[in-house]
Subunit: 220 residues, 2 copies
DNA sequence: CTTCCAAAATCTACGTCGTAGGTTTTCGCT
DNA sequence: AGCGAAAACCTACGACGTAGATTTTGGAAG
């Protein structure tokens, strides 16, 4: 049976969708419009495609969000397997790469912090870190705790810092000086909220804690 | 004009809704069914009320989520204004209370970590903490950094630990030993994932870092 | 070159969601 | 007794996620 060829659309194998292109477009869409407005239908429109076409490559919205997480995580540069540096440099370098990714995709980042990461990219980064720490002779328990410790802090800190909408650093919401006098006094010192200096300071404090813990315990 | 009194429902001021009861019921509903299944309509059914009635007390879904955050945050015991203890005890005590709340409402907790907290309950807890630290003579910058530092870690850590569904401690997803040999070796040491002992260990490490930083800097 | 088929894309349809706007009921005051 | 406002309900709309059936297509087999 012939249908009227009015508005004949391209069908079949012509649109050239694949998991990678879908995820990349989805990330761009969330970067632009935010997670709240994101949806399968809007993504389909952005791709110039029927909503259901997406389901041939990704099995549902949850899987779509996973694919987006994986995509942004893969951006964290894996330039070198720098096995030559100390554990602190490895940790710092990993943390900075992670932070930069978060600032590049502030509206996607909540997905990463919320969803458990089991992709190879994530695991190999952790493997590099723990290997470096072990090589440096840190006690096993300290090494074993490090990933959860470090990424716990990174996720929580970045989530807080990026939660103010605009493009990166949010603003602190102006404290009532009479109700909270001490906090009000400290306000000036929080001027660099979201700044690289602040990040380095706090990251340094976490690493200090780990080093201190390692020194307290016995050798491996 | 008289309408047929078939299925006459109670209307007017009889249902006894208020912000508090709505929030409490919403929290219970999310505790039971999860955030994904939560919605205004389901909440209304739970309350035995028309969906739109809720909007007379809370102006939209976003505000509803805020109200839930506030409700669970208020649970964190404020039993005593214990101004008599040192800053480390105050920090530890606050952190433990926060953790207990998170374990009581693991499916609500992501809301807290994601949304900026500006409610009086949150601010007064922070005020207590920074006041204690300042009294102990810690440098201002260290004190100013402490809230973001501590709650950054707490939010990120708890988010990770609670993301496995059941009731509290999730399971780690079984590492591929050949691809990630060092991590595989350390697996046994991560047995207590989500345990109180693990939490205390990591919290202690963060506080160590803060203490170390304070010692490095000059006096206030 | 033709035929056929599985993969890829579309179309249709259903139930659910958040909420705008309008209507009715009820309670506390006069 | 009766009025006004607050609180509840009803209706309706557009958008969402996705199940299931249908159509198109590119490439492999003959």
């Amino acid at each position: 049976m012939e249908r009227p060829d009015v508005a004949r659309r391209t069908q079949g194998r012509s649109a050239g969708l694949d998991r990678e292109r879908i995820a990349a477009t989805a990330v761009a869409l969330v970067d632009r419009d935010g997670l709240e407005r994101f949806g399968v239908r809007r993504l389909a429109e952005e791709l110039g495609v029927d909503p259901m076409s997406i389901y041939h490559h990704i099995k549902g919205k949850a899987a779509l969000l996973d694919a987006m997480s994986e995509a942004v995580l893969a951006e964290v540069a894996v330039t070198a397997d720098d096995t030559s540096h100390g554990w602190e440099e490895t940790a710092r370098w990993t943390a900075h790469g992670y932070r930069e990714m978060a600032y590049r995709h502030p509206r996607v980042f909540p997905l990463l912090a919320t969803r458990a990461q089991t992709s190879p990219v994530a695991l190999s980064a952790l493997e590099r870190l723990v290997t470096a720490m072990r090589k440096a002779g840190l006690p096993d328990q300290v090494v074993a705790d490090a990933p959860l410790m470090l990424f716990g802090f990174l996720n929580g800190y970045l989530l807080a810092v990026l939660s103010g909408e605009p493009d990166g650093a949010g603003d602190l919401p102006a404290i009532d000086a009479t109700a909270y006098p001490t906090m009000a006094t400290l306000m000036p010192l929080q001027a660099g909220f979201g700044s690289l200096a602040e990040f380095d300071r706090m990251l340094g404090t976490v690493l200090d804690g780990i080093r201190h813990r390692a020194a307290q315990s016995g050798s491996p």
